[in-house]
Symmetry: C2
């Protein structure tokens, strides 16, 4: 048994090593020159705003978490679930807190670096993002593996004990939903609000210091795009780890004599993934000789190759199984393929974006129509790719039921890239912020040009991340559903060996109704989320207008706006409006579980995840395409900036904002949250739910 | 056995009686005064354009139908399927042809009637619509019951013979898809194209005779809203009749000794439904004392009460079964409830529409955002209602499997209203056309005010019809899926008595992939459909611009535009662009059936219908709400017509047009078409498909 022990402690060890590297990166970023006093002043506003938001968010969540933990403890009778739940929420928040603090330090230092060397600026921005990426991987690994040890899970008692870990996943999911919803509403309300008054009504440029909402806008980049996405990926990793462990306990006996390694196999892949992320992040270095995106691609390639090699070692050498190697590789391949497809639909130099720009010549209605149509079209290939990979892994794994294990393995393959993907994603808002700071501090065009180059690279990495995030969310949620199934079978004494034994028949009217409800939830959830942005944005608009009206000399640049008030209004409204969608996302599956029963809940979950993934992809792609169609026109096509065509394109861009940065990412989390919530509460549904 | 024979011949007899009444109505409409020479001239343009479109459409479809019939005959080896297929397509086209010809006669006569008496105008318009409604019911009843007799289907041989009828349903479905797609693209391309140049660029009012696209726009009302919806409801009725008969053969032994009546039961309800429709249509009479909508409501109430009484007789007296009475009533109740909910989301005097109007104050982006959000929200209650009714009927019927029969009975209850609903729907475009003719003929404000009152009533009936159409489509498609299941079980020798025997498990990865594909298809289909409107509209825009540029004196009203050219361009482009969505809608289920197998195809169909119904409802409601938000502003709110707010609201209205009148209705047909196609080709999938 010493080998088991070794592997068990390997995971937390790798977690600690990664955390040490986080400290080094953070220090490195912090050591960079933060620039002139004016730049530092602006940066401090952003830091304060972002931290104030996180503090308030944590305070809002804390009572929920404590109350829910108490309820979980009382109703389920297991302290581990409640404890894990609190830990999951806490680890998620800490990861986000550390990562975001790196980001709000990296932004001004990126601006300053850009003054002397654009290459250096890239390195600073990417390492700032890398801090977020690695923190997530490290805390994920640490959290799950520590609970693993604390709860005394061993290969022998795993079937009875491993489900104790689900509390951690549930905590991480709930925290992620709050972070993404609150942050997402914040960032887009501030953005839309600032633009509507600044750009449209008053006619001052973006990020102009006279706009009272400009700091809120910059804060939004950090709390929405950076912290929100961080919590999202933390959740993906956690859910995936726990679900694959649960599935492993049911299926691993099929894999020769390696049952002990197999249970720890998910932890092992994550541990190795952390090393891959570190290597990749180190590899990204700005250079005068290559474009920023080329530098980022080197990092992605390093992690990718490292992953492939590790897949070979893990699959073929350790597990002695080619199917495992191929499943891992298929997962990685799916992530890359989906990202490339999404790039096609959102890139400025491809047909969809240029067609949307062209349609804008006939006004905003045709701009919207065209983007809407391309957005709907764009869901086809990504979903087909994921469907194809699902089927391929299932066949390679040997059909029912060893194929299910292969499927879970494929999602581990996707997750392998988590650290570096998160780094490239956080890099985007940091670059964005850096540009904003340059604008506000009135730095020269030289600096701004360097910023634009970073920004362009950031837009591409954002598209990549979104494709990756969707693939992650959909595949992970399929695996979590199988974990649900394994647990449900265990609790009801059903054998899974024959697929026909499972009473989740598609054509049972009870299950059909469950699917109808499941398919409806993402619509309602999106409706409330998008409306929250609209309502909050309107509050921001009113405040900015008020300041222009009531502060004498503001428009002439002789007086300063009250940034803090805008930050405060956005914070309060964003946090308030995240409650309704959260309730929809949590209460409906509980009702379905109790009223329609546990098998109908499985049908419900399938519908939620498929429709959620489709809507999210539609929103990402349509939003991204509208954004770039506007940029394409700004580059001088069809009349360029200020033309009627440009005006029409701004409509799509503005409408697309809450889709791509609020509702879309929140849907990813909704999918995963509902799955993990269902597993957590499964014993209650079995005990007290209606039996059909 | 004489009673069986009686009932068998009752259905065609009722069909003939209804057809006789159609002739009487048509004559009555035709006898009305068609007004001044100028009015008759305009009306003749519309008639010619509409008939030219239908002719071209039939010519486009004919080769498809003939080729497909030949393929069906050869591959399936049964002449009945091929013959039924041709008959289905033919009956659908004839029904549409007769109905539309009544509509294009009723329009100008409504205008003329409005000059002397607004009350009379309502009667004319509604009886014009009634001709369409009754034609559909009559031909539906006649077609199915004649084939029933021709193929020699009897209660004894029904299990082997009843599926021969599916060809008729398939033919009706394919014809409906072409009619709705072609007509839907036509009507919105002409509408958007006419508005973009006329209202926005040149600044002339709607329906101004100087606009070259104005006749195409008026033709569009008939070929899209009227003919398209007619084909849609014809298909619903047909599919429903055939599917319930197939399901009956499997389940009816559960219902005491009435197996022979039971097989004919669907025909019987339809026959009685035809009588209800006739009574309802007669009951609608304009009066100076009540508003137009009150008059229409009287007709709906008459049919509703008649239906309820007939449900009691059919269920309790004839079938001696309270569950049947309740299921029929539940179906009717669902249709009413869904219509009321949809009215809330689209009515000008309710919160959603007024909030959208309010949001328009901050520009077109927030107008779109608000409507999008309410549209997404609006799917919740309708789907929940249908889910609730499904569950209730299933429980009332006694769970698996007698509950399935109750479910099919509920859809018969919905279909009972078909005739009167279609009449109220066709009434809308007739009133619309009447207003357009008044505008073009330069009639006084008196006439126009009467037209506006009719138009307002038409908008409400349109909302009712759309809710009804959705409830019909979703519930019918569920029943058709059960018919699929019954056939599949028969062909594979599986007993359906135990639900667990059915190998369509939700959690089998093959089925999950099928559901992913199924959920994606409505997105892709909508994308292509909406794009088709955009592209065709742009052609219209170019032509109208060209005529203003090249015809001297046109803008000054000294010369006439070339209406025919616009009609021709729209016709050609609409018919060309319906091909791609049709291919998507027909080829994907065939691939799934062969590659993923017949059980995965059932999973696929479930996903298509749920996601299709959700998207369609979203599109209807968002589109309707945007339309009315614009009208609300035009009524003098937030600055009224010509204000910036109004400009913003026009964006939503224009964007919403192809959603609510092209993609949305086409989705309904897509859902039903794929189901009936799957049943038709099932023997081929069983014989040659992959077995998982």
């Amino acid at each position: 048994m010493p080998l088991t022990t070794l592997v068990r402690f390997l995971a937390p060890l790798f977690g600690l090593i990664t955390l040490a590297f986080v400290a080094i990166l953070f220090q490195w970023v912090n050591k960079q020159d933060p620039g002139s006093p004016r730049m530092r002043e602006i940066a401090s506003y952003i830091q304060e705003g972002a931290n104030a938001f996180l503090r308030r968010e944590f305070m809002t969540i804390a009572p929920f978490v404590i109350a829910l933990a108490a309820i979980l403890w009382v109703t389920m009778g297991k302290w581990q679930i409640a404890f894990g739940f609190v830990m999951g929420a806490l680890f998620s928040m800490v990861a986000v807190f550390i990562g975001m603090n790196a980001a709000v330090r990296a932004n001004v230092r990126t601006t300053q670096a850009a003054r002397s060397s654009p290459a250096k600026a890239l390195t600073v921005a990417f390492r700032g993002g890398g801090t977020m990426g690695l923190t997530i991987v490290a805390l994920n690994l640490l959290g799950v593996s520590l609970l693993f040890i604390l709860f005394g899970v061993t290969p022998e008692n795993a079937p009875e004990t491993v489900h104790l870990l689900v509390g951690f996943g549930f905590g991480a999911s709930l925290s992620a939903l709050f972070a993404q919803l609150g942050g997402g509403i914040y960032t887009k309300a501030a953005d839309v609000g600032a633009d509507l008054v600044g750009k449209v009504e008053v006619g001052i440029p973006e990020d102009d210091p006279r706009n009272a909402a400009v700091i809120a806008d910059l804060v939004g980049d950090n709390v929405g795009d950076c912290a929100g996405r961080g919590a999202d990926l933390f959740e993906s990793g956690t859910d995936n780890l726990i679900a694959t462990m649960i599935v492993s306990t049911a299926f691993i006996s099929l894999y020769k004599s390696h049952s002990w390694v197999a249970l720890l196999f998910p932890l092992l892949t994550q541990a190795i993934g952390a090393m891959g992320a570190i290597l990749g992040i180190i590899a990204v270095k700005g250079s005068e000789k290559r474009s920023p995106i080329a530098a980022v691609n080197i990092g992605l390639a390093v992690t990718g190759v490292f992953s492939l090699i590790s897949f070979w070692i893990l699959g073929v050498v350790v597990m002695e199984s080619y199917p495992i190697f191929w499943s891992l590789t298929l997962g990685l391949g799916a992530a890359i393929a989906v990202s490339l497809i999404i790039q096609y639909y959102t890139s400025i130099d491809q047909k969809p974006v240029q067609e949307i720009a062209k349609a804008s010549r006939s006004g905003s209605a045709l701009n919207i129509m065209s983007g809407f149509s391309y957005g709907m079209e764009s869901v086809g290939l990504p979903i087909l790719t994921i469907g194809g990979v699902t089927l391929a892994a299932y066949i390679i794994g040997g059909g029912w039921m060893s194929g299910i294990f292969a499927l879970t393995t494929a999602t581990l393959g996707i997750n392998e890239m988590q650290g570096i993907i998160m780094a490239s994603d956080a890099f985007g808002p940091i670059a964005d912020n850096a540009g904003g700071i340059a604008e506000m501090a009135g730095l020269g065009t030289e600096v701004r040009r360097a910023g634009d180059a970073l920004d362009a690279a950031g837009n591409i990495t954002k598209a990549i991340t979104k494709g990756y995030g969707m693939a992650c969310a959909l595949m992970t949620s399929v695996v979590v559903m199988f974990a649900y199934l394994v647990e449900a079978a265990k609790l009801t004494g059903i054998s899974l060996t024959n697929v026909q034994n499972i009473p989740v028949v598609v054509v049972n009217p009870v299950n059909i109704v469950a699917m109808m409800i499941g398919a409806t939830v993402p619509f309602i959830f999106s409706a409330f989320t998008i409306r929250a942005v609209g309502v909050t944005a309107y509050k921001v608009v009113e405040e900015v207008r008020r300041q222009f009206r009531e502060i004498p000399g503001l428009l002439q640049g002789k007086a300063k706006p009250d940034y803090a008030r805008c930050v405060d209004i956005t914070t309060r409204n964003a946090l308030w409006h995240m409650i309704l969608p959260t309730l929809v996302g949590t209460i409906v599956p509980i009702i379905v579980g109790f009223v329609l029963g546990i098998w109908a809940l499985a049908a419900y979950l399938i519908a939620v995840k498929i429709v959620g993934a489709l809507l999210a992809t539609f929103m990402f792609n349509a939003g991204g395409a509208w954004d770039n169609a506007k940029k394409y026109i700004e580059d001088g096509h069809y009349g360029g900036k200020g033309s009627e065509t440009h005006r029409a394109a701004v409509t799509g861009d503005t409408f697309g904002d809450p889709l791509k940065d609020t509702a879309g990412p929140s849907l990813h989390i909704l999918i995963k949250l509902q799955n993990i919530l269902a597993i957590t509460l499964l014993p209650l549904f079995v005990a007290y739910g209606v039996k059909w």
